[in-house]
Symmetry: D5
Subunit: 138 residues, 10 copies
């Protein structure tokens, strides 16, 4: 099955020259285990510092929310591992926005008594953002 | 529709020469989506280090609470994006108070299964304040 | 109405030469709005590193709990702003104990949909203590 | 009784050259007290930075989830102290994956009114990960 | 009444040359107010980095849990202030184990609307451990 | 300003002859105080037993969700008291659906330190449903 | 000191002939211990079924919120026992509104390790309301 | 698309002649809106009193867990309304097991600021079970 | 060791002829296991309907709070089983107050992975009070 | 493997002629799936009204706690279904104590996204106890 098309993603210009942090939390994510076909459920959190207005890439600095929703929904029928989902979302969003930094955290409901959290990062994510996300994972 | 008048905001002098941190949390904020006209609901947190007494700007170092309430209420009938609300509040409050540092966090209820948090900063926000706000976002 | 007498406060010697951190949390604080006379309710947290035994001021290094209770109760009939309460408590406790560092946080219940948190500091408060208090403010 | 065989553990290649953090949380762990034979219950959290793709050890950079489940289940009939469980899991996983850093936290339900948390680390665990785990221990 | 005998405490060798953090949380601690004789209730948390195996003191690097329970129970009939309890436990445990660092936090239920938290430290406690304990105190 | 048009409400046929209970919870409700013009925020819960399929009124037995959303949004610019909101919603929904029983609960955020909950009922609401809603109001 | 004047209370007509339940929750109540003068803090919940429109007493069927706030504030300087506060509020509100039934619950913060809840009732309070309030008392 | 095949469901004999209550809670349910195709997410709770051993239908008195999982997963690609899902599950399970009573509760995540709970019942559900489920819906 | 003297308990007259419910919750109760001498910790809840003013026994209808505190503290050094504590408190309070009904619930912290709740009743305790207490036991 | 020996259970006489309710909650229960051998984890709650002192069976009216612990631990190595565990415990305890009524609730952690709760009853369990247990199951 072909991967979710990154082309579903759209962007709009960063509205400010001053530092912004933008975070989108999708609590109704589902994909499928590529081995068993059983559904996986989890929360996908995307957090990034967009390219500031006036810098290169700022014209496509911020992912548009509705397109993000459709993009995430496209994983519904795809068989893909936890790590690959996390990597794919990172790569697709970095390719779209070229942010200063970006962090993707996928937090999966348990299977067989073990639950998992995967994090992928791009750029120099400030340490305090990373800490904060951890503190919230529960 | 014209933007909320920043002139609604009033200030009073910073009462101390020693370091203060002031935080106001408005949990009943509502604006409107500029595209659909549907209401948006969220929480607006403003946190800042006021200009210390005896320094320039300290005469208008602290935003007055009732004026802040009326100012925030003026967004009720305005169509404006998440990012623009956050930027506008930052700009208007920085223009009013000239604080040492200031942080605005808007935490929006979900639409279509995705909820968002936007942060705008002015000046050199201490890292521990940023971390702390994150830890609380849930 | 005259201000609460700082003379209500009593102290006892710091019991140790090794580093201590002492924190008192008064969750039943009430004062009055100086404009309207309406009651304000909040929580007052005092946290400090006392002067170590063997150093100057250590003889009065730790505020006595019952005297602190009576001192805080004396605000019950006083009309005073959030910021002034916070400053007053900082000044009175610093005058009493001369601590290495001290932090006062007042966390006020909401009025008109906005609730506030004010922090005042004395000395070089370690960054991790400040962060920790933030994380708890909710 | 022989120790749980580390050979139960299997690994797969790290899927990315970019930084990842992987965390597995097993909330249904049980072993036995070597002195009394009474069961011990707790949560085992494993968190690590896998060897990046393209570096040595990356071919076995990530522990496979089902094998981790069986490995942890093998402690069910073993008499072993808290500290030894924690050390064993660290050693076995480090031997398997050679991660950049790894942290094992075992959080035990109380006995006699005292509950315990043991942490073992390998490599240079970033400070913010350690902080975050602490904040979650409750 | 004589103080709780530190001789109740027993230790066992640190099981590893690699860094460990050990934490014991006793949520059913009670002592008595030396002035009024009324009971005080609280939680005692002990956290430390034991002397690594192969270093001096590692033979007695870890406090034994049952002995810790009996030691803490011995405060049940003792009249002693919050600060003194905290200091005593620090001193007795440092005398027993000679840890790399150690932290004792006593978190007391309220009296007269004020509740207190006392911390005592030995050695160079890493900042992130201190922060983490704070974040949990509530 | 004219009242919110009940004509915004639409209905669809009850899908079953067997007992159903339907509950809709709108957590982002806002109206305005008719005296001061200040916004009021609250949660509106509607719960009802629809007319069973095959009985009179069952053709319009269930309120359609999107129309309910628009109907509730129409209160945004209306000045109306807590009690009148609650009565109006009851009357409009009973007029639309003629349900076997219906309950409306409005749970308002506090003003001046007092928060309020208003309940209006139609028909013979089973006691256990009333109890259950109460238990949830917090 | 004279008792709080019940004449502070005002009422307005019940707006409906259909059954209503009205509940007001004042979480910032404070009075004083008549023996020691120390402040008491608690939550006062008033819940009642107003006289239906068209029946006697319905012209004064519902207590007005601002007057209730001022009435409750008038206890701030009064020395009065838990039980007497609860009885007084019941009697004053019954005298004002002549409701079908009324329940007053005062939930007091602890003193000396014991916290208390007092309930007073008027008329035939439905059993499910009583249960519901209990379930919420914590 | 054809409806989920009830034939996926399997049953086993009720193991006891004494009263049992069996409840299965599937927190990872997803179907699709038949109008928009957007995914819906919710929790499905099934609770029933199985036919007692020795009575008719007891040979197929209890739904088998794995078959229930597969049956619920089959809604993943189906466009179906909240009410129809709830009815379908009730009908299919009643047809399978002929239980003494059965209750299905579907609790849906919000769309457009409104979230919904639908309940369908079969037979004479004891009032206390209904109350209990309500109390848990949040 | 002799049992705690019921003579520590004092009472005052019931203040009202109308129905009251009085509840005292002591969260810092401790006694000792009669077999091992180890301390037990728990919460003692006493709830009762006092003899109404004007009926026999109403002169001693309500237990005085400070005397209740001292009475409960007297169990601190007593070896007594869970069931016996609960019975003793019921008997002593019924002997003191002759209430219309009374309920004592002791909720004990766990030992060996099992925690216990014991309830003793006197008179005809209304069913809704019993339910409510249960719902709160966690 | 033979079933857990009910002979592990011991009892002691009911200590009172007045109504008691006794509840034991074992949160660390584990057995094994008879099909797969995988471990199951859950909480076992036992609640009963013991035979009153002076009635037949009261000599063995209350299960002894330590014996209950050992009895429950004996399921650790047994392959047994949810329903059979629940039935077995009911039967063994009824055979031991002959209580007036008894309820066993087993609350199992999820497998494959579905978690289950099984209840077995003996005698005429009061409706309010059943409700209360349900309300707590989450």
């Amino acid at each position: 099955m072909p991967p979710p098309p990154a082309s579903l993603l759209e962007a709009f210009p960063t509205p400010s020259r001053l530092p912004l942090v933008i975070e989108h939390i999708a609590e109704e994510f589902t994909s499928q285990c590529p081995k068993t076909g059983h559904p996986d459920f989890g929360t996908v959190t995307v957090r990034f510092g967009p390219a500031a207005a006036g810098t290169p890439h700022s014209e496509r600095g911020c992912v548009e929310l509705k397109s993000l929703k459709l993009y995430l929904q496209s994983f519904r029928t795809e068989g893909i591992f936890y790590e690959a989902v996390t990597d794919r979302i990172r790569d697709d969003l970095v390719g779209l926005m070229h942010p200063v930094w970006l962090q993707v955290v996928t937090n999966w409901k348990g299977r067989g008594g073990i639950r998992s959290i995967i994090r992928a990062e791009h750029g120099d994510v400030p340490a305090h953002w990373r800490t904060a996300v951890e503190g919230r994972s529960l």
